[in-house]
């Protein structure tokens, strides 16, 4: 009995938390353990959840050491683990002193229970179970001695395990060891993995999403480049058509004319005339390669988009993530001081971001203030839209003049071609700065909203610019009577891309640096400026759209974009570290990646596909250059090649029959999309149902807790 009293004394010191509770009800006083009578304690101690405790500290000896008598050290505490292994996970309510008491009484029984449970199993099973017990090694050795000595007496095969078991064990252990040590290696194979880890820890998830997006685009371009390289560039490079080579002067790198205009770079170079007869038909290759790459990119984008959306609609939503983050975000494998410090930074940033999401304070504004804000918003939007409109008009007029040679400025030859791209790049440089000014004037509450609004405005700008340029190229250029209009369009795209690159480099090196110096010295701000995510991401998307449109007219363009992206990564990283700082209010960019891929998919990629399909279907290719000369449309070239292929290989006839029946048949498409939509609907319903079940179960657990408190209180009352 005195053991109980002593234990309750120990416990009273630790139950101070109950006194802190502000919502003290009368029952709480009943729940204070030092007030419980011995009878209550005894009853509670023999509750099934208390006797079947999983996380019983086996070092309980030291805690009871002041009250320890010699016979306590012998019994195995918490040894009932395996006997009730299945119930444990649902019923554990751990409480030190009571389980100590219960185990003191029942310890001997538990040890026997455990030993007997082990005896019922085979040697390997028993060993496995023994290893998984949360007991001290000394205890385990004792149990093993008892359990297995009895076993070996009864079994014929002694402890000498046959050698193949040793070997298989050894193999499985080595395999596991290899696997575990290889996994981190695989993840570090991902491009720029360590750099991104550093960046995300310091600057937050928003900036990280930009760099991840850059990496995605890099891989897409690599894929594009490899496919066009294999099927278009290399065959043509091996069989070059005879053409007069112009001299190479430096300006060609910028304008794409001259030396480059009759090269692998542009559409005009490719022809079916130099390739050996029927073996490799350039029109077919051109048509199908472009079609195939676009199809592959479409699939990849849809897949990424659906994965991102899927993450946002998970069953267990992210608002329950804080506790998980605290306990499982730390990577215990790191042992270097620097990495450890970096991890601290990373986890702090993540926690701060989640906190800021949770505490979204809303200040109440007066009517006047709300009206004022509304007016400011309207003004800002009008200003932005007007500026976009003006920019678009400017580009429209300029591009109309561009292909007529006369200009008013006296520039050296060929540089007049650069005027359009310079103007477009200038607009792309200045207007986002203007948008930033508007956003600063509007003074949005949360940084997240600010970024989304900026993204939208930048998107409008880019869409209008590219839209107007495409219109120009497709409507007026072919009718202009140029010798090789596709190459001209390709050259224009090349110029736009290169000029964009140069301007970005200059802006990153000079502009951001100067802005930081300016803001720190003249504006006297203590903090460095924040990395402008919206502007940079839209720049990437703009470049990528140009590349995609340009693949048809200039097959080497993805290579240019590839180089540009690689250089951009290192440059932006450097600039970020030198000139920028994390946002003062950390915010969680959970949906940034989804948004970026969405923008990449919807206006950018689909727009490109529409443009290309329009070109291929309706516009007449030029007569003197390119693989589709002497045809009415490029599409016809593709059809002709298909027919030719079918004649050559009859097997493909059934393939085209299948194509005609299935893909071009609208009924089948309707059916397929109908089934698809139904599947999506069912999945959504299942997810919804699971969410409901989870919330009900949680409510049930809460109620059980309340029941327990109620019963304890009643027990107290009865004992009094």
């Amino acid at each position: 009995m005195e053991v109980f009293k002593e234990c309750t004394d120990v416990q009273s010191n630790r139950s101070s938390y109950t006194s802190d509770e502000s919502h003290d009800r009368e029952e709480i006083s009943h729940l204070q353990r030092h007030g419980w009578s011995a009878a209550t304690v005894k009853v509670l101690a023999s509750m099934p959840s208390r006797t079947a405790e999983l996380n019983k500290s086996r070092r309980v000896r030291y805690q009871a050491s002041s009250h320890e008598s010699p016979h306590l050290s012998r019994p195995v505490k918490g040894a009932s683990v395996l006997a009730e292994a299945e119930e444990i996970n649902t019923e554990v309510r751990s409480d030190l002193s009571y389980s100590t008491d219960s185990n003191l009484c029942a310890a001997e029984n538990n040890m026997d229970q455990l030993v007997s449970s082990l005896q019922g199993l085979s040697v390997s099973e028993g060993t496995r179970k023994l290893r998984e017990m949360p007991l001290s090694l000394a205890d385990k050795i004792e149990i093993r001695k008892v359990a297995f000595s009895l076993k070996t007496e009864s079994s014929f095969i002694g402890r000498n395990i046959p050698c193949y078991t040793h070997l298989s064990m050894y193999i499985s252990m080595t395999w596991r060891h290899c696997l575990f040590s290889c996994l981190p290696v695989f993840s570090s194979f991902k491009l720029w993995h360590s750099a991104l880890k550093t960046l995300s820890g310091r600057y937050g998830t928003g900036v990280l999403s930009y760099f991840l997006f850059l990496r995605t685009l890099l891989f897409l371009n690599l894929l594009l480049f490899v496919i066009t390289g294999l099927f278009l560039i290399i065959p043509q490079a091996i069989n070059p058509p005879p053409s007069p080579k112009a001299d190479f002067s430096g300006i060609e790198l910028l304008t794409g004319t001259g030396y480059f205009s009759d090269s692998l770079m542009f559409y005009g170079y490719y022809s079916s005339e130099t390739l050996p007869g029927d073996q490799y038909r350039m029109p077919a290759a051109y048509f199908f390669t472009i079609g195939f790459t676009l199809f592959i990119i479409c699939i990849i984008l849809v897949y990424r988009l659906s994965k991102s959306f899927g993450k946002n609609f998970q069953v267990l939503k992210s608002n329950k993530n804080l506790a998980v983050k605290v306990f499982s975000c730390w990577d215990f494998k790191v042992s270097k001081k620097i990495s450890v410090r970096l991890q601290s930074e990373k986890i702090s940033t993540q926690l701060k971001e989640q906190l800021s999401e949770m505490i979204k304070g809303e200040d109440k504004k007066t009517c006047m203030q709300q009206l004022h804000r509304l007016i400011v918003h309207l003004l800002a939007w009008t200003a932005c839209l007007i500026s976009i409109f003006l920019g678009t008009i400017g580009v429209h007029n300029l591009s109309g003049k561009n292909f007529n040679v006369k200009t008013t400025l006296n520039l050296p030859k060929d540089t007049e071609l650069l005027v359009l791209s310079a103007v477009v790049s200038g607009i792309n440089l200045l207007l986002p700065g203007f948008f930033n000014l508007c956003v600063w004037a509007e003074q949005y509450e949360s940084p997240g909203t600010r970024v989304y609004v900026s993204v939208f405005r930048n998107l409008l700008l880019k869409v209008s610019v590219i839209g107007v340029l495409c219109y120009r190229w497709l409507e007026s250029i072919p009718a202009n009577g140029l010798e090789c209009w596709e190459s001209s369009v390709g050259q224009e795209l090349y110029r736009l891309l290169v000029m964009d690159f140069i301007v970005t480099v200059l802006y990153t090196f000079l502009g951001e640096f100067l802005w930081r110096v300016f803001s720190q010295t003249i504006l006297q701000k203590k903090r460095k400026p924040v990395f402008d995510i919206a502007r940079n991401v839209l720049e990437l998307i703009y470049g990528q759209t140009l590349t995609w449109i340009g693949v048809l007219f200039a097959p080497l363009l993805p290579g240019v974009q590839l180089i540009k992206l690689i250089v951009l990564f290192y440059m932006k990283k450097r600039s970020l570290i030198l000139n920028c700082q994390a946002s003062r209010k950390p915010w969680r960019a959970t949906q940034m990646t989804t948004l970026f891929i969405c923008i990449l998919w919807f206006p950018s990629f689909l727009g490109t596909v529409v443009t290309i399909i329009y070109t291929v279907w309706t516009i007449k290719p030029s007569e003197k250059c390119g693989p589709f000369r002497n045809l009415t449309t490029m599409f016809e070239g593709g059809q002709m090649s298909t027919r030719h292929l079918e004649d050559a290989h009859p097997i493909l006839k059934w393939l085209s029959w299948v194509y005609d029946c299935l893909v071009e048949n609208p009924v089948f498409l309707f059916l397929a999309s109908g089934v698809f939509l139904m599947v999506i609907y069912f999945q959504a319903q299942v997810v919804d149902g699971q969410r409901k079940i989870i919330s009900r179960l949680e409510k049930q657990i809460e109620n059980e807790g309340k029941d327990k408190k109620f019963l304890i209180a009643k027990l107290q009352d009865l004992c009094k």
Binding site: R14, Y62, V92, L96, R131, I141, P184, K320, L322, K352
Partner: protein
């Protein structure tokens, strides 16, 4: 096979092998590492099970543990006297429980014990605050720390007693994405 070693008897080695996730070689290497920590204290010959304990101050100098923010707690949890002085059994036990071959359930049990600073078998708010301070090393302000702890307990506490029992903890860990559970819950690679 192999070298004739005199550190342990065959029965001892077999017992260790059966009760931990290590092979013979690894156990012998572990003994060598253990001895390295305090060569004057730890004898070469363990056949008669000497009762030697290496103090915590020496154990936390091991490279695997040196930068771990929870090194003292880990050593305390596995020590018999609760002060962090490990005998060789405790030493092997510690690395066996934390090694990669040990199952997730076992690691969850020990993780709970390690995070339970005041050893009352609950992770209460103070325990959580200490954990957080060790993880973030002063990057968060005290208000932020309190706020995170409040929110975390609110999220994870299922039965409403404002503390995390083992069931709450295990339930919460099971919600972590697989790769996090897999790698981050004490996935040690014991360096040989």
């Amino acid at each position: 096979m192999g070298n004739k070693q005199t550190t342990f008897t065959e029965e001892q080695l077999e017992a260790y092998q059966d009760c931990t996730f290590f092979t013979r070689k690894e156990i012998l290497r572990l003994h060598a590492r253990y001895r390295e920590l305090a060569p004057h204290l730890v004898p070469l010959d363990y056949t008669n099970n000497p009762d030697i304990k290496v103090p915590m101050t020496l154990i936390v100098t091991m490279p695997e543990l040196k930068e771990n923010p929870f090194r003292e707690r880990i050593v305390e949890t596995f020590s018999e006297d609760g002060q962090g002085n490990l005998s060789f059994s405790d030493f092997i036990d510690m690395f066996s429980a934390l090694c990669e071959a040990s199952p997730r359930e076992l690691k969850t049990i020990y993780a709970f014990k390690i995070y339970d600073f005041n050893r009352d078998n609950f992770i209460c708010k103070e325990d959580l605050e200490k954990t957080l301070n060790k993880l973030t090393k002063g990057e968060l302000t005290p208000e932020e720390v309190t706020l995170v702890c409040d929110k975390a307990i609110e999220e994870a506490d299922l039965d409403g007693d404002n503390k995390l029992s083992f069931a709450d903890f295990e339930n919460m860990i099971s919600k972590a994405p697989d790769f996090l559970r897999y790698r981050h819950l004490f996935g040690y690679v014991f360096i040989f």
